[in-house]
């Protein structure tokens, strides 16, 4: 086993909304190149973690740090939101798909490359008027978008409005859009929700190929067939606290996790567990 090289370090993350504690001193790490799943019952605080991570919420306490491969660190809990995507290169998708519905599939992928295009001489007056070397950059961005469309099988729909796509295709497009940002970590909020088994299988393949290319993935998912088969590590939340953390097999058999999912008291679960072992 190699030395730990976490890409994401969350320490004592706390998020309060008034009196409600949505996340309570949560600490976990995500290894570079891994698929880390965050699971837990409804209302456990999973999406809140994502919202803290991507700057939609400013955490009440604690820290979230991204470490790039070159050693640069970005404290996400202090960063202005658009810098999280731009500099720390954290991309995310949403539980309820959020595409630019009236824009075409291709345009969705072009918007994702906004910062790169603007950075590469997009601010010169020539570029603003659509002349000069900027056009080459734009063409390269279209090529990058097309490569992703090929990968998610949406090239024939490239010029259709995103809102006109079927549900499964919208999910794939949202992932492709996030990947067009060329993130170091991709945060997926229930990517398998509403997919049929075949689409779910395709999603697994896609996520494995993204991982193989070196992008780390953070995954919120309810579909255990996805979680157990593709994740390298599982973090389990309940009522804003971490109740288990480890490889999928270990977490699956953890009595606390079973208790949280089945809604039994912990003592009871332990008792049940003990009873089973005695027999």
């Amino acid at each position: 086993m190699s030395a730990p090289d976490p890409i994401l370090v969350v320490e004592n993350l706390t998020m309060r909304f008034g009196g409600l504690v949505a996340i309570d001193a949560l600490s976990f790490e995500a290894e570079r190149g891994d698929i880390t799943a965050i699971i837990g019952p409804n209302g456990a605080g999973k999406t809140t973690v994502f919202n803290c991570l991507t700057g939609f919420y400013r955490p009440t306490g604690g820290s979230i740090v991204i470490r790039h491969a070159d050693g640069t660190t970005y404290p996400l809990h202090r960063l202005v939101q658009h810098r999280i995507a731009k500099h720390a290169r954290v991309a995310r998708t949403f539980q309820n798909i959020r595409l630019f519905g009236g824009m075409t599939v291709l345009e969705n992928l072009m918007v994702a490359q906004h910062n790169r295009l603007m950075g590469e001489g997009g601010r010169t007056p020539f570029a603003l008027m659509g002349f000069g070397p900027f056009q080459k950059r734009e063409a390269a961005a279209v090529e990058r978008a097309r490569a992703w469309l090929d990968r998610v099988g949406l090239t024939p729909r490239a010029d259709d409005p995103a809102a006109a796509l079927p549900y499964g295709a919208q999910r794939r497009l949202e992932i492709a859009r996030a990947m067009c940002m060329e993130p170091v970590i991709l945060c997926l909020d229930e990517p398998a929700a509403g997919l049929n088994p075949r689409e779910s299988e395709e999603l697994n393949d896609l996520l494995r190929s993204i991982k193989a290319e070196g992008t780390s993935i953070l995954l919120i998912e309810h579909d255990m067939s996805v979680v157990m088969r593709i994740s390298d590590r599982v973090v389990v939340l309940d009522y804003g606290q971490k109740i288990a953390d480890g490889p999928p097999d270990a977490v699956r058999d953890d009595p606390k996790v079973i208790a949280a999912y089945l809604g039994v008291e912990e003592e009871e679960a332990l008792a049940v567990d003990a009873a089973l072992h005695q027999e």
Binding site: T54, G55, F56, V80, Q81, H82, R83, I84, A85, K86, A91, R92, F94, R98, L99, F100, G101, G102, M103, T104, L106, E107, M110, V111, A112, Q113, H114, N115, L117, M118, G122, A127, L128, M129, G130, E138, V142, R146, T155, A158, D159, D160, P161, A162, A163, A164, R177, A178, M181
Partner: protein
Amino acid sequence: MSGAAPRGMAAIVRDAGLAALIALGVGAPLLGLRTEPVGRGLTLIPRPGLLLSVVAAVFVGRILVGLFMAQRALRRRVISPAPRAMLAPPGFRSWLGRAAGPAMLAFALLLPFMPGIGRYEIDLGTLVLTYVMLGWGLNIVVGLAGLLDLGYVAFYAVGAYSYALLAKHLEIGFWAALPLTGLCSAVWGIILGFPVLRLRGDYLAIVTLAFGEIIRIVLLNWVGLTGGPNGMSGIPRPSFFGLPFSMAGGEGTFAGFFGLEPSPLHRIIFLYYLILALALVTNFVTIRLRRHPIGRAWEALREDEVASRALGLSVVAVKLTAFATGALFGGFAGAFFATRQGFISPESFTFIESALILAIVVLGGMGSQIGVATAAVVMIGGFELFRDLEQFRMLVFGLAMVAIMVWRPRGLVSSREPSVALGARKMVGAEHVAEGRG
């Protein structure tokens, strides 16, 4: 079709009979009887003929309406999966879409030299083009970025007053002052933008409305600078790149330089082409920006602000550039207005102007350049067309607006052209395009 028709027909006749009965009830006292002064008293004169013809008209009219509605429902049901565009031949539609722009441009370019076009028509053309330009400017803010701005006239006013002040006090010529007035308005666009960054929808609309009023009231009360309600007069007229328009003729004037007979029409025509050029610049810049990452960011913001933020768009930068760009063109139009009129006062910059410009954008179809231009022609031209109707002018105009919004709820040109495409560009239907909430 044949199965549904008889039952439908009976219902239609029954419905028409009911309508006729109501017409009879209402009409009998109102139309059926007429009071006539006879001697010292009044007599009632029955008018059964009039009453019967009205009732008959209601009956027949109601049947026709019923048949029309039934027909339409049927047609919808039969071809419901197909888009409504199928009703018109698709080839004709796309041909119309492609040809409309160049045709309108050619008409605008040739207008002053068409036979039968006099001073009044050119003046009207200038007015229409001013609103085309304002509509295109506001279109950036409302149509592309989806930010509902009810105070756009503020930037028009800033442009007009900054040109008047620059020209009168610093004696800067029109062409040198133009970029400065644009800059001035753009700065005010950013000043407005900052406090409203967090506001959305109705709240944004109210604050921008207030901003428009603040500017007007400041202009009204800062008598030392703006002349207050008396306005500013004697604003220098534009020259033809240094050659003034003068009735005297002679060396160094426009007419003298080109060896023409001096005519008051020269300046009118020059102003017409000036606003045409300014409007075309607005159009060109908007078209270019739409295909630039900035323009795409505006539209992304309109479609979904949360997703835009997750993709690393700086909402602050996107909103401020939209406000500033829109304000810039409003400022240019204002400078033109000031130099054309030679006199400006806060009277010209009331809320009704903002409402008119917004109506042009909404009527034209938010985001559509050709739609906004058409709407400006319809609105401003419509005002003139109905002038003969005197006090009923606004009534007829309002009815026409309601009719258009019922017929085309998302504006005259509601479909959106993609900014980039792998294959052929396909228009995006209005049902997919967001209206923007921020």
